[in-house]
């Protein structure tokens, strides 16, 4: 079983690498292939969950789209977040075939289930804003990871601030 899982993980890495160089059409299909041959993975290449599995979460996930951050127990977009989202939206306009998964994350404080719902709200708030700026909603999917995938593991506000984030994963261009 362990051997098989490792094989699947390695395959995931290969898929992720291949995807970077692939055509948009192919990548779009791969992203939606939850029921495909690699079924169990079904993840966006480079998603935080995939990076966590590979032990690379927190190192170099910066893509063309910038993370935005939130106050505790809030999904409100402050002025800084809105500014970053405007930049993100203009990148998306320039890359009109890019599809993006929007991940909502929380800090460790509070309840697992509530934080999963809060992460959903954060991802949803970012999506709504970008859509309002003219990006078609069908290019954007959302997922919440709640408090499950922190970037930073210390128990202090500096760390928590980094973890309360919306992260964008470009699925393909």
């Amino acid at each position: 079983m362990a051997v098989r899982l490792r094989a699947v993980a390695v395959l995931g890495v290969i898929l992720a690498v291949v995807s970077v160089g692939c055509s948009a059409k192919k990548k779009g299909a791969a992203a939606g292939a939850a029921g495909g041959g690699v079924g169990e993975e079904g993840l966006a290449p480079g998603s935080s969950l995939e990076r966590y599995k590979q032990g690379t979460l927190g190192t170099g996930e910066e893509g063309p789209l910038k993370d935005i951050h939130f106050a505790f127990d809030s999904a409100d977009l402050d002025e800084q977040a809105r500014g970053l989202l405007r930049d993100d939206a203009s990148w998306l306009k320039d890359h009109s075939r890019a599809k993006v998964e929007i991940e909502g994350h929380c800090d460790e404080r509070g309840t697992v289930e509530y934080n999963l719902a809060l992460g959903t709200r954060r991802a949803g708030a970012a999506k709504e804003y970008v859509v309002a700026l003219g990006i078609p909603a069908d290019r954007l999917t959302t997922i919440s990871y709640g408090e499950e995938l922190p970037l930073c593991h210390e128990h202090n506000e500096e760390c928590w601030q980094k973890n309360r984030r919306v992260h964008f994963v470009v699925l393909g261009e």
């Binding site: 079983m1 899982l5 993980a9 939850a34 079924g39 169990e40 993975e41 079904g42 993840l43 966006a44 998603s47 969950l49 966590y52 599995k53 127990d73 404080r109 509070g110 309840t111 697992v112 289930e113 509530y114 999963l116 719902a117 809060l118 959903t120 709200r121 991802a123 949803g124 708030a125 999506k127 709504e128 959302t142 997922i143 919440s144 990871y145 709640g146 499950e148 995938l149």
Partner: protein
Amino acid sequence: MRRMWWTLLVISLVMGGARPSDAQVRGTIFGPGAHSYPIAVSPLRNLSEGSAAANFGAQFADIVSADLNLSGFFKILDRAAYIEKPETSGYTADSINFDNWSVIGALALVKGAYSVSGDNVTAEVRLFDVYQRRQLAGVRYHGSLGELRRMANKFADEIMKQFSGERGPFDTRLAFVSTRDGKFKELYAMSPDGGDLQQVTKTQTINVSPSWSPDSRLLLYTSYKRGNPDLYELDFLSGREVLISSRPGLNLGGRFSPDGSKIALTIEDKGNADIAIVDRGGNLLRRVTDSWAIDVSPSWSPDGRRLAFTSNRSGAPQIYIVGVEGGEPRRVTFSGTYNTSPAWSPKGDLIAYVSRADGGFNLFTVKVDGSDTRQLTQAAGDNEDPSWAPDGRYMVFSSSRTGRKKLFVTDLTGSSQVQLTRVGGDDSSPAWSRWLE
């Protein structure tokens, strides 16, 4: 794999004139939290020839002792101080020298004997009032050697019944998530005494929020193993798994109705979490809430007519109650600005929840009508994830008071809080099953 059936033959050996109602020590002579009532739990005497299952008697006593320690009622007397040795002494009221037990301070005594035949064991276990020199309860158990733990847990439940008037909560299972074997939260199950640990999932992804079916055979949990947080049902005994709900977005916090016919869960609609009820196949029966706010963590009332849940419709998370048919929810918590994780007591009168208070997260209870808020934990790390024992007198919860998150058991006043897990990693989201039958 554990056997799916349980062939336990229980024969009451309670003697005439020693009915439980006569027991002098019943009722409110002492309360939980005192750890004050001295009881000796002697290893059972081995009546078999040879050394087959020679440890059975001591293991039985170990498990009963661990259970009684969790109860908060008892002070378990150190076995090294026992004068009567199990292999050379009697185990009936007629043959026990009660002076040997009163002199070491015991007010209650557990003694018994067992015999092994192949894979089967018969154990006779009795509870005595040392002061009155008489038997309070006696049970004969017959089963396979592998059912040792259930026999011991059942006898601990019987002891609790003799001393408090209500059956104890130990012939049950606890499910929880833990990172003890790696970086992902995997599901585990164990006996409430901390033994018989089983790793239930090895998915190498995020798994959260286990809960039991009323018959204690199925586990609901949410897993990201297909990428999305979907709700699964695992037949705990056969290992068979069914995907119950895989709606886009959240399929979270599934909880069986008390009659087992329905499941309440959190689903996502237009980027927001709401409470819904689905049938056993995952088909939507009805939306219970449909608000702009976050609604999560449904917990059934014991009569199956209402749900407690967490909502931030007031601006911050608070506990609400709503009828299963929907309608306007009623707010239950009014103190504190962050109240989550409602757990409706199986007795129906209390809702346990977690509140952000005193710089951390702590366990509280409140009456269903919103009155009589009580704080159970304080100044001891973060205390979260309360789950009631089936007797409504105890809860299991997670606490970071010793560093990493570990499981603890508390009585409903918080006066007895006993640590249950200790090994590495974080243990959280415990779920206490109903009694095994």
